[in-house]
């Protein structure tokens, strides 16, 4: 059997030290992704560092925003009164993901770190550059219905599967990271990577670094928000495409817009050009339709995901309509 050492330190520095020393050591949070991957033989850690004893489970107000500990469960985060009241977009996105049982176990840090659901990544018998760099991308000429339309490379067309991440990017969150050499912060939008030539790297976290918290800035979008998730069944399915929409509307004019999409790229995909287009325009259907037309600019589809070129703008349009009160969810 694959034997591994298990430890449960109460001190972050101990956890980080173990990980930076050992190539084949992993942090264990909710375990909903890592344990699955261990069972399937995708990873075989020699050391599992259970981080659930670290004091990273609180949501607290900080000057200019909110700090969320990396071990706050997805359920506790989505249901937190401050989140529901001030950052409802985040609640909507988290609750659109997985199932209640999974969300009870899943953590903020684990959710950020979850691997793609590309079927070829999960099947050990098939080539996958993300799993075995250089082995080839099976999705490129294969069953790529769930795959990227933005920012892919010829090495990898997988998508980041998280719903939560999409809202985090739309909300301009910041990530706190601790490593053996100290702490650093990073914009959430810069945390995940595009595949490029290194699809084996999902994000910019370095070996041995621990996500300790995510900060949300001053709440700005607490009213006109919506998260649209289009999926193959009503619940418990990953997004075909999803759209997080946050608007600041004053006197029927869009003061500020934040748009991000899921299920379309290797990272949560921020639609900056569309945001800029919307800024200062009236919040009406005609404007939203024009905005939606910009969504698929620069997109590239594959054999089985061409529908996303239309579904992505539709999702954004629906999100804008609901967020602005023109339509109901």
């Amino acid at each position: 059997m694959n034997q591994f050492q298990y430890s449960r330190p109460a001190d972050a520095s101990v956890a980080i030290k173990t990980l930076s020393k050992d190539q084949n050591a992993y942090f264990l949070a909710g375990g909903t992704n890592l344990i699955d991957m261990m069972k399937m033989g995708l990873v075989s850690p020699q050391k599992l560092v259970d981080i659930n004893n670290l004091p990273l489970k609180t949501v607290s107000e900080i000057p200019g925003g909110l700090r969320i500990g990396a071990l706050v469960s997805n359920t506790n985060l989505a249901e937190h009164p401050l989140i529901k009241q001030k950052y409802p977009l985040l609640s909507l996105a988290i609750n659109a993901g997985a199932s209640p049982q999974l969300r009870n176990m899943a953590t903020l840090g684990g959710n950020m770190m979850q691997r793609t659901r590309c079927p070829y990544f999960f099947d050990l018998t098939m080539p996958c550059n993300k799993r075995v760099p250089g082995s080839g991308c099976s999705a490129l000429g294969g069953y790529n219905r769930m795959h990227a339309i933005f920012g892919a490379s010829d090495k990898c067309i997988a998508v980041n599967p998280s719903d939560m991440n999409v809202a985090m990017v739309a909300l301009d969150a910041t990530v706190h990271i601790s490593g053996a050499k100290g702490s650093r912060t990073m914009k959430f939008a810069d945390f995940h990577r595009l595949p490029g030539d290194h699809p084996e790297l999902d994000n910019n976290l370095k070996k041995g670094e621990l996500i300790t918290a995510v900060d949300l800035p001053e709440p700005r979008f607490s009213k006109n928000v919506h998260y649209v998730k289009i999926r193959d069944r009503a619940s418990y399915a990953f997004a075909l495409v999803s759209a997080a929409v946050a608007l600041e509307i004053e006197n029927d004019t869009i003061k500020e817009a934040r748009l991000a999409m899921g299920g379309v790229a290797h990272k949560p995909w921020r639609l900056t050009a569309v945001e800029m287009f919307l800024k200062g325009k009236p919040a009406n259907e005609a404007v939203f339709k024009q905005a939606a037309q910009l969504v698929s600019n620069g997109a590239k589809a594959y054999e089985y995901n061409k529908f996303k070129l239309k579904m992505a703008p539709n999702a954004v349009l629906q999100g804008l309509k609901v967020a602005s009160g023109l339509a109901s969810a």
């Binding site: 059997m1 694959n2 033989g41 659901r117 079927p119 070829y120 999960f122 099947d123 018998t125 098939m126 099976s138 000429g141 294969g142 069953y143 219905r145 649209v228 289009i230 999926r231 193959d232 069944r233 009503a234 619940s235 418990y236 399915a237 075909l240 529908f307 996303k308 239309k310 579904m311 539709n314 999702a315 349009l317 629906q318 339509a327 109901s328």
Partner: protein, 709 residues
């Protein structure tokens, strides 16, 4: 007055056991010295195994044996010289690989975990051969399946639809739907000399007994099959699968009890599925909506090593009164696991195509789809030219239309809105043969006045024991609490395999008849007139006769009268759907299932059957699709995260309505069966409702959001 117990809603007699964990399923028998088997799948799709390196696996802790075609005990029934050679795949008998995931080795260890790990250490080398898994690419290589029932059928003129004034000519695709009952397939086997005891998930313990006896070349009575509780089977346990035989083979080689549990992923390759099927339909009609001709051709996926034909076109021969009809079966043998019947089976597949085409015709004719069905109502069976034993399909239309609110349907598609959502209504109908086979039941009266009845039937979920107790309570005019029914044991009196909705009809009749025989026996003992209605105190009669107990076994089967009738259950399913025009998301808001299945024995479990069937139909219509990656010859979504069955949030209110009029011919109870019919017509009702809502005709299931934007 005798109270009519049949039809009362009664909770399952084994319900408490099931919800408290007291019911022991096949994987839960604690056998002393149990060992655990785990299968190793082939990683190629066709070819020959040249060598298997089992050394590392054999050295792994806890491993007792690694069985491959190179060291397996030869089974007499697997040899061509056998009297009745076992059909289909024979595991570990030779070095051939026919499909990806075919087991090439069985690792047995002292724990499941150790066997699982050791299985990853088994390394095979292969000589690969070219393979074909692409159904569409091989469509032109389709063949006519063997067997008389798959011959071309022509009534009147073939392809008469082509010359009709109004016609529909379309093609409908149903992807493969994989068998995945909640309970994984598990088999436990152990030997005592040349006698073997098996715990397994089985829809027919007598059939399983025959299969094991044939494989090992031993007498029937040397095989004891137990399958007392089954956590769903839906057709996946109609036959004995090769890995079940392999479990007993391993137990024999090791001289130890072996338990083999399939993983969820292995369920996607080893226990059958509803095969990918393309159906071509031609419908021709007069402008006033009378069918002139029906053509129905089916092309379904099969395996290179064994034929399976999805029984999909028969429904077009008799459901509607068309003077001309012709049907054809073709199969496409591929390097895939062999399919199996899946609930509703071919009739559900066929009705999706026929009922979709009929809906298309109704729009061409600008005629209400129910009116179109009434215009072509078959008062006699046009295929066999026989009267129906009973048929209340018109009542089904009418009651379903009322319940779903058909009056709110707009005949022009995409014109009915509720807020942003498009609203649509659809109907889909079907029929399933009402069968009855010979069956036996044994009744025992004990001095405490309690009655026990045994029969070698199964209960894969419908509540068989409950129905049998109800039937017995009715005939004996006794409280149900005093009656027990036992099943799932091959030593019990003969019963047919549970499939084709025939259990209540067959076994129920045997229970009915044995109770009647018992009643008369008691009257005789008490010196009363035969067939008298007098209620006796059975315990007192037994005591007076100085008997320790009384046993009576009765066989029951239909007579020739049945030959003079066509016997079917009929269904009419209705759906109301909401479709979001921007997101393409579909909400099935309501399903109404109306069924003419003769007399309903237990309203409660019968309703559960209808609800379960409708859920299966929702899966067929909206979520289920196995995707083959033809480059590798392997499923791209063979797991529960990527292969979608409906979740609770997809399931709306489902109303089950029964016509509940006894069939006078089929059996003494008057019941025709509901297990299959509950699914037949559902997918078409939903697809037709989606068209009514959106004006988009989806001819390739499942109907996912991408197809509607």
């Amino acid at each position: 007055m005798k109270k009519d117990t049949i039809g009362d809603p009664m909770s399952r007699v084994d319900g408490r056991l099931k919800v408290t964990g007291g019911a022991t399923y096949s994987g839960e028998y604690k056998v002393a010295g149990l060992t655990y088997g785990v299968l190793v799948p082939a990683t190629i799709t066709a070819g020959t195994i040249t060598a298997i390196d089992t050394k590392a696996a054999e050295r792994a802790p806890g491993v007792l044996k690694v069985i491959t075609s190179f060291n397996a005990l030869k089974l007499p029934g697997y040899q061509p010289t056998a009297e009745k050679p076992v059909k289909g795949l024979k595991l570990f008998n030779d070095d051939k690989v026919y499909f990806n995931g075919q087991p090439i080795a069985l690792v047995v260890a002292d724990t499941f975990e150790r066997a699982t790990y050791a299985a990853t250490l088994v390394k095979a080398t292969y000589q690969t051969a070219p393979f074909e898994t692409d159904f569409h690419k091989n469509l032109d290589k389709s063949i006519v399946p063997q067997g008389g029932r798959y011959k071309d059928y022509v009534r009147g003129e073939a392809d008469a639809y082509k010359n009709a004034p109004v016609k529909v000519e379309q093609q409908y695709l149903l992807p493969s739907e994989m068998h995945n009952p909640m309970e994984l397939h598990v088999t436990t086997a152990f030997w005592d000399g040349d006698k073997v005891t098996i715990y397994t998930k089985s829809q027919g313990v007598k059939g399983s007994q025959r299969s094991f006896a044939a494989a090992f070349g031993i007498p029937l009575e040397n095989v004891q099959i137990n399958s007392r509780f089954v956590g769903g089977a839906f057709g996946s346990s109609l036959r004995t699968w090769p890995h079940e035989i392999a479990t007993a083979q391993a137990a024999k080689m090791l001289g130890k009890p072996v338990k083999l549990t399939l993983t969820r992923e292995q369920m996607f390759t080893l226990v059958g599925y509803r095969p990918l099927t393309i159906q071509k339909i031609g419908l021709g009609a007069t402008p006033d909506g009378k069918l002139v001709g029906i053509t129905h051709e089916s092309y379904s996926q099969s395996a290179v090593y064994e034929e399976f034909t999805e029984n999909s076109v028969n429904v077009s021969r008799f459901l509607y009164a068309s003077p001309n009809a012709n049907t054809r079966y073709k199969i496409v043998p591929l390097n895939v696991g062999v399919p199996a019947p899946m609930r509703g089976p071919g009739e559900a597949t066929g009705s999706f195509a026929l009922e979709s085409a009929l809906d298309e015709l109704s729009y061409l004719l600008k005629m209400d789809p129910i009116q179109l069905r009434l215009n072509n109502y078959a008062d006699m069976d046009p295929e066999r030219n026989l009267p129906w034993s009973s048929k209340y399909l018109k009542e089904c239309y009418q009651r379903g239309a009322e319940k779903i609110g058909w009056a709110n349907r707009k005949s022009e598609p995409a014109t009915n809105k509720d807020g942003d959502w498009l609203v649509g209504y659809g109907i889909g109908c079907g029929a399933f043969g009402a069968y009855r086979s010979a069956s036996q039941a044994k009744l025992t009266l004990t001095p405490d006045g309690k009655i026990n009845i045994k029969s070698a039937t199964s209960d894969i979920g419908p509540g068989t024991a409950t129905a049998m107790v109800l039937i017995a309570a009715d005939v004996l005019n006794m409280p149900a609490e005093k009656i027990t029914f036992e099943l799932g044991n091959s030593a019990f009196p003969m019963a047919p395999t549970q499939g084709g909705s025939a259990t209540v009809s067959s076994v129920g009749s045997a229970v009915h008849d044995v109770c009647l025989a018992f009643k008369n026996k008691m009257l005789l003992l008490a010196g009363k007139n035969q067939n008298s209605d007098e209620q006796l105190d059975y315990a007192a009669v037994l005591k007076a006769a100085n008997l320790p107990l009384l046993e009576i076994t009765q066989e029951s089967k239909g007579d020739e009268t049945a030959q003079k009738y066509s016997m079917y259950s009929f269904s009419s399913h209705f759906a109301q759907v909401y479709v979001h025009p921007l997101t393409g998301m579909i909400k099935v808001k309501k399903v109404v299932a109306v069924v003419d299945a003769g007399k309903i024995v237990n309203l409660k479990t019968a309703s559960s059957q209808m609800i379960g069937g409708a859920v299966g139909g929702i899966g067929m219509a909206m979520t289920e699709e196995a995707v083959m990656d033809d480059r590798f010859g392997k499923l791209a979504n063979g797991n529960f995260a990527d292969y979608h069955v409906p979740v609770q949030a997809d399931i709306p209110q489902i109303d089950a309505i029964f016509i509940d009029k006894p069939d006078p011919i089929i059996n003494p109870i008057g019941t025709k069966g509901i297990g299959e019919i509950s699914l037949i017509g559902v997918a078409a009702a939903i697809a037709n409702a989606v068209y009514n809502a959106t004006g988009k005709r989806i001819r390739e299931l499942p109907i996912t959001p991408d197809k509607l934007i």
